[in-house]
């Protein structure tokens, strides 16, 4: 049954005679009328049901069955022609307004219908009324704005952060309500949450003012409101049943409302329950309030709709519908009327007054206006070194006026920064240098200088004499290529008749910036009497100042050489021994290799010397501080009064002098010139810095590289050889066991383990039979030999020895006694018929021989 | 479905209890015949055969407050009984230990609770429990 449909007995015009045509069971005007023999009227459906229970007329109890039910043609015709009002003649009222406020919306509802003075007055027969109702001017239509309300809210109210979610929630929660279009749930965003419940009770008011009024009155007298205000629950009937009521005009007074007098009469009738009812009333109001709270609890505001509007009133309604779209005066986006104020208050495009410059700015850009544009905003000078602040519009003036000052500031800052960086860098370099030196020293201390012996045999002396000059093949010491040169008749006029002999460094392909400090000897071997051999010793640093060779210009008279037994079979033997004492990175002193003779390097040197002193005095910090103080003093000199009134122009390329107070006048007088000077100064300074730094870095790199080589060669080349004698018994039977060959720097070695009756020993042998022996090398080794005790490693036997091996020298190491055979066999050295030997070698020296 | 008000539910129950439907193993009635609020009920369960409860008479008191049948009544044995769902101190049936009370539904009636309790007596955990001597009360 559609509870929103107005019952026929309400619509009927002739209310006087309605009772005559009511069904005795459902108490409505009969549908398909039937009667008993006594004329008691029933709807066919009603009596059919009753007859199933008992075969008598419910009113007169005469016996009755489906068979003897009577039709009434007259009544049927009468019903068809029954005059009824158009349904738009009525509006829904609540016959129990007192209770109505209490009724739960979702549960039972008691509607009633009242004549609406503004309603339709058309009367027609039951048969024809429907045709009228379709086109009735008083029919209800949805307000087009309100219907779109949901969308509007979603689309337009995005700015109203508070409402977004709420709208969604509300739409869900209130689906029932919305579908029935009952509550004028004016979603008045301005209303606080507190008012929501009240709004809910007050469905007929659209106008905000009225709404607020009624809320107020509600608060002041809940009883009155209960009576006069339609509760939300009953409001639901309004639209479905075609009640008008939605307009807020005062003329639209409810008609079939129970007034308070009626109410009191009801109450007086319920004498016994009066107290209870009052209690209950309050209680229930509380409950209903709670219910509403629950249903809206998650929502800050609730949506209120216009609901249905009479067709004829629609145009008027649209003029002041709270949901009618209004363009925002600032952003031009359309918003529902009721939310426009709040929107405009928050609109990003609303013009606000800039607090600084008083101009009108869209709110959205206010911040960027202050940050970037406002001429009155106080900003710091855009020139980073200047600490002045002023209004933005003054910026250009400031910059123009203080150009000279800014230049000086910048120059000072630059100088400070540069000298700071220099200091940092040179400190850094020095630290590194010290480290490197320490390492070098460490390595030097551990290793004696490599001494290279070269035997140079000049096979055809006569041929050599004919040319006047002969030179040896190159030999390379520590990566430096050397050769020996001999001039048989001197190398200039002074030395005619003498043999000139030199050790040359081939500078064509050595790393630049490196010098080597050498000690060397040159010997002419006397082949008749070796004791008469001529040996001279020299010290020289290559490359030397005016050339790359060092030796004797007049070493021996040519004829002495030729006649005193030095030459035999047209052969001359010269022996050179060369020791490299030091490899020097010499960029500091040597202009040829870098041309880095510039201020910074001097500073660096100075610093070095300072720091050396400091190191000695442990005054490092103090000195630095002094330096800083000096710098500061220099800076301050420019700004502060000082006892010398005449100063140099701070741009050193300018070179002018003037009184201190003239400095800005001087600069302003020739700004361009000074800028240019400054640029040049900067450029050369930066260039020299670059060069200096790169050369320093290069030097460090060289040092590091050499160190690395040294370390690699001398310290890291520690080798380990593990030898497992797998079958001790077999080796005992044989008397010895031999390891495989292993190589140290190309030298082939092997171990031999000898087992005798009472003792065992281990020997390290240089495998002279091996074909791969390097011909020109000898090697000094430190050997650590470990005979492992496999039961208790602390009992392992360890021998350490140093020994030199070469193809020429004695080529084995071992002392003939390592361990007693008994001890070896019984004290845990042998396990599972196995015996292990671990040898560690570190290379002390590799010696080169010339051919 | 129409909700039947509490009092008319209980009146119906009283009538069905007075008619003593079923097999006679359970019975229930108002504790006080003038109890116009129909709150306090007195019930009897005869223990099922082949259980330690066999043929013993168990008396219970049942209290339906104003929220019945939306909420279950409180149930208390007056005859001493050893059962998983019965508090051994005071004989109260612990709702959390009796599924019909835990998962109460407003369509359940007193009769359902009693049947359920009797069924519970036949459950294997309760079958193993030693029972106090006959006639002892909480």
């Amino acid at each position: 049954m559609d509870i929103f449909q107005i019952p026929l007995d309400v619509l009927v015009v002739d209310q006087e005679n309605v009772k005559e045509i009511q069904c005795g069971i459902c108490l409505q005007i009969v549908v398909t009328p039937r009667q008993c023999k006594n004329g008691h009227l029933y709807c066919f459906g009603c009596i059919e049901q009753s007859l199933k229970k008992i075969g008598e007329c419910p009113q007169c109890r005469c016996s009755l069955s489906l068979d003897n039910l009577c039709r009434s043609l007259f009544l049927e015709k009468h019903l068809r022609n029954l005059n009824v009002f158009c349904k738009n003649h009525f509006k829904v009222e609540e016959s129990l307004p007192l209770l109505g406020t209490l009724f739960n919306l979702t549960k039972n509802i008691l509607p009633s219908w009242a004549v609406d003075l503004e309603g339709c007055t058309y009367i027609g027969s039951q048969e024809t009324i429907e045709n009228h109702q379709i086109s009735c001017q008083h029919r209800f239509e949805n307000c087009k704005f309100s219907v779109n309300n949901n969308n509007n809210n979603n689309n337009n109210n995005n700015n109203n952060n508070n409402n977004n979610n709420n709208n969604n929630n509300n739409n869900n929660n209130n689906n029932n309500n919305n579908n029935n279009n009952n509550n004028n749930n004016n979603n008045n965003n301005n209303n606080n949450n507190n008012n929501n419940n009240n709004n809910n009770n007050n469905n007929n008011n659209i106008d905000n003012d009225n709404l607020i009024k009624s809320i107020g009155s509600m608060m002041s007298s809940s009883l009155n409101n209960s009576v006069h205000g339609n509760c939300s629950g009953f409001g639901q009937f309004n639209n479905g049943s075609g009640d008008s009521s939605n307009s807020n005009s005062g003329s639209n007074s409810p008609q079939v409302r129970v007034n308070p007098k009626d109410l009191s009469s009801i109450k007086s009738n319920i004498v016994g329950n009066q107290n209870n009812d009052d209690e209950e009333l309050l209680l229930m109001e509380g409950n209903s309030g709670e219910d509403q709270n629950n249903s809206f609890s998650s929502n800050g505001t609730k949506p209120i709709e216009c609901g249905k509007i009479r067709f004829k009133d629609l145009d008027n309604h649209y003029l002041d519908c709270p949901f009618r779209p209004i363009s925002c005066g600032f952003c031009k986006i359309e918003f529902a009327f009721h939310s426009i104020k709040e929107h405009e208050n928050n609109c990003d495009f609303r013009l606000v007054e800039c607090s600084q410059c008083k101009s009108k700015i869209p709110k959205k850009v206010l911040r960027s206006h202050l940050g970037e544009k406002c001429p009155n905003q106080i900003i710091p000078c855009t020139f980073g070194y200047c600490d002045k602040s002023f209004e933005r519009k003054e910026l250009n003036n400031h910059l123009n006026e203080t150009m000279a000052q800014h230049m000086i500031m910048m120059k000072q800052q630059q100088q400070d920064e540069i000298s700071l960086l220099k200091k940092e860098f040179s400190n850094h370099l020095q630290l590194k240098d010290e480290k490197i030196k320490g390492l070098e020293k460490l390595i030097k201390d551990k290793l004696s200088d490599p001494k290279i012996k070269i035997d140079w045999k000049i096979k055809n002396y006569l041929d050599c004499k004919r040319n006047g000059y002969h030179q040896s093949e190159k030999f390379i010491i520590e990566g430096f290529p050397f050769f020996i040169g001999i001039f048989t008749d001197g190398d200039n006029n002074e030395s005619k008749g003498y043999i000139s002999i030199y050790l040359f460094l081939d500078t064509s392909d050595i790393p630049k910036g490196r010098c080597i400090n050498t000690e060397f000897s040159l010997k002419f071997n006397n082949q008749r009497d070796p004791s008469q051999s001529l040996n001279r010793e020299y010290k020289a640093t290559f490359p030397i100042r005016d050339g790359s060779g060092w030796g004797d210009r007049r070493s021996i008279k040519t004829h002495n050489l030729e006649s005193n037994g030095y030459i035999k079979d047209n052969t001359l033997l010269i022996t050179a021994e060369v020791t490299i004492k030091k490899i020097i990175c010499c960029a500091q002193n040597n202009k040829r290799y870098g041309g880095l003779d510039i201020k910074f390097s001097e500073n660096y040197n100075n610093n070095n010397s300072n720091n050396n002193n400091n190191n000695n005095n442990n005054n490092n910090n103090n000195n630095n501080n002094n330096n800083n103080n000096n710098n500061n003093n220099n800076n301050n000199n420019i700004n502060e009064e000082c006892q010398y009134p005449i100063i140099f122009c701070p741009f050193s390329y300018c070179g002018k002098t003037f009184e201190r107070k003239e400095v800005y006048n001087h600069l302003n007088g020739s700004l361009r010139f000074h800028m240019r000077m400054w640029e040049l100064e900067n450029r050369s300074e930066i260039y020299s810095l670059k060069v200096n730094i790169s050369s320093q870095v290069k030097i460090e790199d060289e040092k590091l590289k050499r160190l690395e080589e040294l370390v690699k060669k001398n310290i890291e080349s520690k080798l380990t050889f593990n030898w497992e004698v797998k079958n001790y018994l077999e080796s005992k039977r044989n008397g010895y066991n031999k390891s495989e060959n292993f190589y140290i720097e190309g030298f082939p070695f092997y171990f031999i383990f000898y087992t005798e009756q009472d003792k065992c020993n281990i020997k390290l042998k240089f495998n002279s039979k091996c074909e791969e022996i390097p011909k020109r090398k000898a090697i000094d080794l430190k050997i650590s030999l470990m005979l492992n005790n496999q039961r208790d490693s602390s009992q392992s036997l360890n021998q350490i020895h140093e020994k030199s091996f070469s193809i020429l020298s004695n080529s084995f190491w071992g002392d003939g006694y390592t361990i007693k055979t008994y001890d070896l066999e019984s004290k845990g050295y042998i396990k599972d018929n196995k015996l292990t030997i671990t040898a560690e070698f570190s290379i002390k020296k590799i010696i080169w021989f010339s051919e | 479905m129409t909700t039947i008000p509490r009092n008319f539910v209980l009146l119906e129950e009283l009538e069905s209890g007075e008619k003593s439907t079923g097999d006679g193993t359970i019975s229930f009635g108002l504790e006080n015949s003038e109890d116009i609020l129909l709150s306090s009920w007195i019930c009897t369960i005869i223990g099922p055969q082949h259980t330690p409860f066999d043929n013993r008479f168990y008396s219970l008191k049942l209290y339906c407050d104003k929220d019945y049948p939306t909420k279950p009544p409180t149930v208390r044995f007056t005859t001493k009984i050893n059962m998983g769902c019965v508090n051994q101190q005071n004989g109260v049936v612990e709702p959390k230990n009796l599924p019909i009370l835990t998962n109460w539904n407003s369509n359940y009636r007193i009769q359902n609770i009693l049947s359920e309790l009797r069924r519970e007596m036949s459950s294997s955990p309760n079958k193993k429990l030693v029972q106090p001597p006959e006639g002892a009360n909480f």
């Binding site: 229970k53 209770l99 549960k107 129970v258 009738n269 016994g272 209870n276 | -």
Partner: protein
């Protein structure tokens, strides 16, 4: 709940807007089929001056079945038992769908005026009524004063 039959709506409206004298019936807020009823004791009866509370419930079957009615106020009456149940033919086999809440309540009111000890529900009261009507009516008056002149507490 789906809906309330129009007949019940109509009856409820009439009960409230045009209450029968001495009778009020108000539906419960959470159940429109459940009514709180108050009947004032008829004049010239032992129940005069009392307000008797009843509860009334319209089953799903109403109006094809009779409403269920019960006194909540204790009353000394041969046709009303200790639990307030009423022995009245129209509430049982004599129900007719043409009857209404109003007529039922009027019948109950009439029953108070005219107890019928020959069709008793409370046997002891009926016996009392038959054997010593005067004393029984005095008891009824006393109960009325005791129980019906104050709102009962429920």
């Amino acid at each position: 709940m789906a809906s309330l039959p129009k007949r019940i709506i109509k009856e409820t409206q009439r009960l409230i807007t045009e209450p029968a004298p001495g009778i009020s019936a108000t539906p419960a807020t959470d159940n429109f089929r459940y009514f709180k009823v108050a009947i004032s004791g008829p004049l010239d009866s032992p129940f005069e001056g009392g307000i008797f509370n009843l509860e009334l419930f319209l089953t799903d079957d109403y109006p094809m079945s009779a409403p269920k009615v019960r006194f909540l106020t204790k009353i000394y009456h041969p046709n009303i038992d200790k639990l307030g149940r009423i022995c009245l033919d129209i509430l049982k086999d004599k129900w007719s769908p043409a009857l209404q809440i109003r007529t039922v309540l009027l019948s109950i009111q009439a029953l108070l005026s005219a107890p019928n000890p020959d069709d008793p529900l409370a046997n002891d009261v009926a016996e009392h009524w038959k054997t010593n009507e005067k004393e029984a009516m005095a008891r009824a008056r006393e109960w009325t004063r005791l129980y019906a002149e104050q709102p009962i507490e429920n």
